[in-house]
Symmetry: D2
Subunit: 157 residues, 4 copies
């Protein structure tokens, strides 16, 4: 389900979202409004901003599923990104209203793999993937996800 | 009036906003959710992110008043920031839901002065001011705001 | 007294760089000092900063080979990133002095493929790849690299 | 071949720096090369990057005076920015080589006040000031600078 609330003061018109993207329809769509700061002198959004949006969508995904990432950090764990892939299909521009969708596709042992898409109206502008590893911060050693956490990450919504 | 729609998938509970801040109540409040990227190793939001939020609130302010900044750029104008002040009163943290409020306090000749506040619940975390100058991009020369634009910037809402 | 070397005031000690990384030894190494802003609350450099460093190394690569990217933009061309991959092997920290190395591995027709590594002392912290496409900005259409430009991109140094 | 000078591979020509700026000549000049990421669609460096450069110059200032900021953090202290002012006089552009100069102008009790300038060749592009407060991280309470630290901050070089 998609709930397009956003960095703007009026609710955006309800829009259909791409039905066949790399992220299935039960994913979360985070709505972001492109900031001027995020543009570059090519007149488009600089490519380094997409991983930041992916992360914001990931946070939202956790929030909706009541996965307490702050609590995990407080318990001495961390979930650093160990791999990142982005494919840029079409440019985003200042003031565009974008939907960032995240979907966990794998969560086993210490690994968490998430797929993303960025879309504007019906159009997919970018897709991506991150791989994260659960570690104990003090030692840097890999840790296994608790089963109830893995379940929440993978549960359809 | 404040319409706290945001980077999150559920509408936040309606909250009272500070009544006596530097930004009067008819200003726009943009809601932002703090991104992990915006934190630093002190565990708080890095101070350089506030000007970016100010700008996002400024864009929203224009959008609500139907001031077409993209159109102004297309007409060869630009509105660079020539002065920035920020006072940081209390830290913001990851996942905080913040309200960024902007209010134009001066718009005459080529100058635009805006006040900002950043708040979480009832608490003001930061205040700020920007001064911008309307220029012709090609020449860099100051230009005077069209009266109807100045009026929109200054009109109560 | 003013010592205008880099993001540091004393020339760094000459260090051997990794000999068998993904970037051959004739690549350019750009030295960067990690900024506090680039850290996050995990206490490490946030992963979204690496593409920014890759780009800085790419710019340096062009500068050294006298490839005039600004001139290309002035001629109506652009070179947007269409794909990005990063592998994060080990964390970087505040004040670390890092070397970012770039090497063009492919430049044909409209595509430019570059490999990167990030190292501290002898250790590789991250590797990456970007794929860029030469386009005409106005139309968005793919353009072929001029042979003398392709040659400069690929020439050993 | 690797030439680890700065964000550029050749040592910059020694240049005279502005003699009458807000930062006296015994300050540190940090050299930065403008990154593409730092530009915006106005074609200039976005104003929110200047506080990041100020901070990098501040770090360099500490490094040169052997003020161990990381050690201070390890001791449970922090030095958050409580006020920031920037005046933007002239734009900076992609690939510009800039000098960022920092000078401590006040360090007493828990307060640290630093002045900055950004220059390109002989020209001052921006000036700024930060005010920081030494606090104990756990409690958030103000702490007084140790006399030997205050001395190092204020000592001419």
């Amino acid at each position: 389900m998609v709930e397009p609330n956003d960095e703007q003061s009026k609710p955006p018109p309800r829009r259909r979202l791409p039905r066949n993207g790399p992220v299935a329809d039960d994913g979360i769509a985070l709505s972001v409004r492109v900031r001027y700061f995020e543009t570059d002198q090519m007149g488009i959004v600089h490519h380094a901003n997409y991983p930041v949006w992916f992360e914001a969508a990931r946070s939202e995904y956790c929030r909706v599923r009541e996965i307490d990432y702050r609590g995990m950090e407080a318990d001495g764990l961390a979930l650093p990104v160990v791999a990142l892939n982005v494919r840029y299909l079409s440019a985003a521009h200042y003031e565009d209203e974008l939907y960032i969708r995240a979907k966990v596709v794998e969560c086993r042992r210490s690994l968490l793999r998430i797929h993303y898409s960025v879309s504007r109206d019906e159009k997919t502008l970018a897709t991506g993937e991150t791989l994260q590893m659960l570690i104990e911060r003090a030692s840097g050693k890999a840790r296994t996800f608790a089963p109830e956490i893995a379940e929440r990450f993978l549960a359809p919504r």
